[in-house]
Amino acid sequence: MENTAANTSGNPNASATPLVQMKDISISFGGIHAVEKASCELYPGEVVGLLGHNGAGKSTLIKILSGAYTRDSGTIYVDGEEATITNPRHAKEYGIETIYQTLALADNVDAAANLYLGRELLTRWGTLDDAAMEAETRKVMNRLNPNFTRFKDPVKQLSGGQRQSVAIARAIHFNARILIMDEPTAALGPQETEQVGQLIHQLKDDGIGIFLISHDIHDVFDLADRVVVMKNGAVVGEASTKDVTKDEVLGMIILGKCPAGATRGPGALDD
C-alpha cells in the first residue's frame, strides 16, 4: 500500500527505496492533535512540497523528522531501515539537515559560529579554529548571497534575509542527504529567492532529497516533483505535480478535497 503512491507519482526513482519514509506519525500537545497518522516519503533527488494552511501541522511533522520533537506513535524509516530519532543529534547522524521556520540561530554570535554550531572546527590543540571557520563561512556565504559581508557581527544585527541565508548555509554545508526547508524563502527578496531556487535544483542533481515546506503553493509548485498536502494535522493527499493543477492543489489546501490525480490520505474530506 505504501508504495503505490510512489508508483503512480511518475517519480524516476520509483523503484528505489525511499530515503525517508514516515509512517502513521502522530503527536499531540496537551489536547491538540498537531499531527495525526501522517505518512509520506522522500526519494533521492526528489523535491517534495509539503503544503497546508497555517497551523496544519507541517512544521510539527518535520520537527519530528529532525529530532526536535519525539513522536507519540508512528515509525520513521531511513534507507528502508527503521530509524531511532529522538533528538537533533540523531537526525544529523542520518544526514538530515533542517532549516527551521524560526531559523534557530544563536543571535549573539556571528555567522561562522552559527554555521558550525555543534560541529566546530578545532585546531590541533583542541581549541576553536575561528579563523578557519570564518574562512569557510566566507566561501559558503559567497555562493549563496554574494552581498553578504557582515561576518564579524552577531547575527542579531543582520536583516531577516541575511539571517535566512546563514540558516540555509548551515543546512547545506555538511553534506546533507536529506534536507528539510521550512519556509526557507519567507524573508528573502526576489533575487535571493531565485538563488535558493537554483540551489535546490543543484542539490537535487546531487541526489539530495528535499522537503520544501510552505503555506503558499506558488513558492513550491514549480520546484517540487510531488506535493503532500496537510490539513488539521492529517494528510489530505499527495500528488505528482504533473498530475494536478495549481487550482486543484489549492482545493486540497483550503477545502481538503482530493482531486482525481492525487492519492487520498486519511485527512481527505468526502465530497
Binding site: N87, Y100, T102, A106, D107, N108, V109, G118, K156
Partner: protein, 434 residues
Amino acid sequence: MSEEKTEYKESAMVRFLRATEVDTRLLGMIGALVLIWLGFHFYGHFVNGYGAFLTPRNLWNLSVQTSSIAVMATGMVLVIVTRHIDLSVGSLLGFTAMIMGVTQVWVLPQFLGLGHPMIWVITVIVGVLFGTMIGAFQGFLIAYLSIPAFIVTLGGLLIWRGASYLVARGETIAPVDQTFSLIGGGPYGTIGATGSWILGGVVCAGILFMLYNGRKQRLRFGFPTRPMWAECLIGGVGMFVVLGAVMVMNAYPWPKGIVKRYAASNNIEIPEGGLFISHGFAIPILVAIAVGIAMTFLATRTRFGRYVFAIGGNPEAAELAGINTKKMTMLIFALMGGLTGIAAVIASARLKSATLALGQFDELYVIAAAVIGGTSFAGGIGTIYGAILGALVMQSLQSGMVLIGFDAAIQQMVVGGVLVLAVFLDNLYRRNSA
C-alpha cells in the same frame, strides 16, 4: 559610542577605537575604576587629611580581598550567560570551608600527624571536589528535573549554611594548616620582589606572544589586521599595566615585627635604616589570575565556551544544533561549584580558620561583580575579564568606604545603589551601541 551612525564623519576617537579594536565598555569600566580610586584617595586627602587609598599597602590589600570574589565571579558569568543564577555560592563557600577545616584540623592530623606536608594538598583537593559535586548536584536538579535555578540555589543558600552549622555546631575551626594558610596571602604568602618581576616578565612575554599569534592567524587567512601602531600601543599599555602592578606590589614592605622575626630566624643583620623586604604579589592573586586566564580560555577558545554563549543566545537553537543543553547546564553549575571551592580555599586560608559566617552575602557581591562587568541577565552576553574588573570595582567601593570611615549601613546602601546604577548605565550603553 555608536560607530555605525557616525561613520560619515569619523572622529579621531572612533578611528582610534576601530584601529585598536578596544571595546568601549572595557574603557568605560577602567574609567569608572580610576574615578573610584581617585575619588576615595582625594576624599581622604582633603577631608581626613590623609589619602590612604592609592598607597601600596591599600592596593595590595585590595588585590587580596578581591581574589575570592573574582574567582567566583568568573563562574557566575557562565551561569548568568546561560540565563540561570546561582544564589548558593556564599553558603556553599562557607560549607566547603567548614569541610576543609574539619579535614585539615580534625581528620588528617590523626593519620598523617600535625603539619604533614600533604595536608594542604589533600585539603584543597577535598574542597574543590566537594564544591564541584554539590554544584553538579544542583545543576542536575536544574537541568534534568527542570526546577528553576533560582529556586534550587535559593534552597542551597539556606541548606548549605545550615549544613555548615551542623558540621561543627557553630564552632570556629582553627588554626588551619601552616602551608594551607599561605594560599590566603599574608607576608609569607607572597612571592617577593624577584618572584614578582619574573612573573611580570612572563606575563609581558605572554602578551607579546598573543598579539603576534593573533596577527599571524589573521594573515594566514588574509583577514584585515590591526595597523602596526595599534598593535604596539596595545602591547605597550598591557606591559605598562603589568609592570606597574609589579612595582606597586613590591613597594609594600613587610611590617617591622615580621622583618625582625624573619631576620632573627635567618641570622640576618638588620642594617641601620631597617630592612626593606617587599611583599610582591600575594598567592591568592596568583590563584585568581590563573583562574581568570583559564576561564577566559575556556569561555572563548573552546567548544564548551562556545556552547555556553550559544545556549545563552538561544537555548532552543542550541538544542536543535545538537548541543546537549542539559548536560551543559549541569557542567556549568559543577564548574561554578568547583570555583566556589577554590574561593573557599582562599577565604578560609586568609582568615586562617573556618567560621560560620564565612562567605555570607558573597553571592550578592559575586552576582554584582558579574553584572557590573557587563554580564546580561537576558543571556548570551558577558566576559570573564569584565567580571574580574567588576569584582575589583565592588571591592574598591567596599574597602574605600571602610578606609574613609563610612559606617556599615551607608556602605550597604552605596553598594546596592551602585549595582542598580550600573545595570541602568549598561542598558543605556547597549541601546546606543546595538
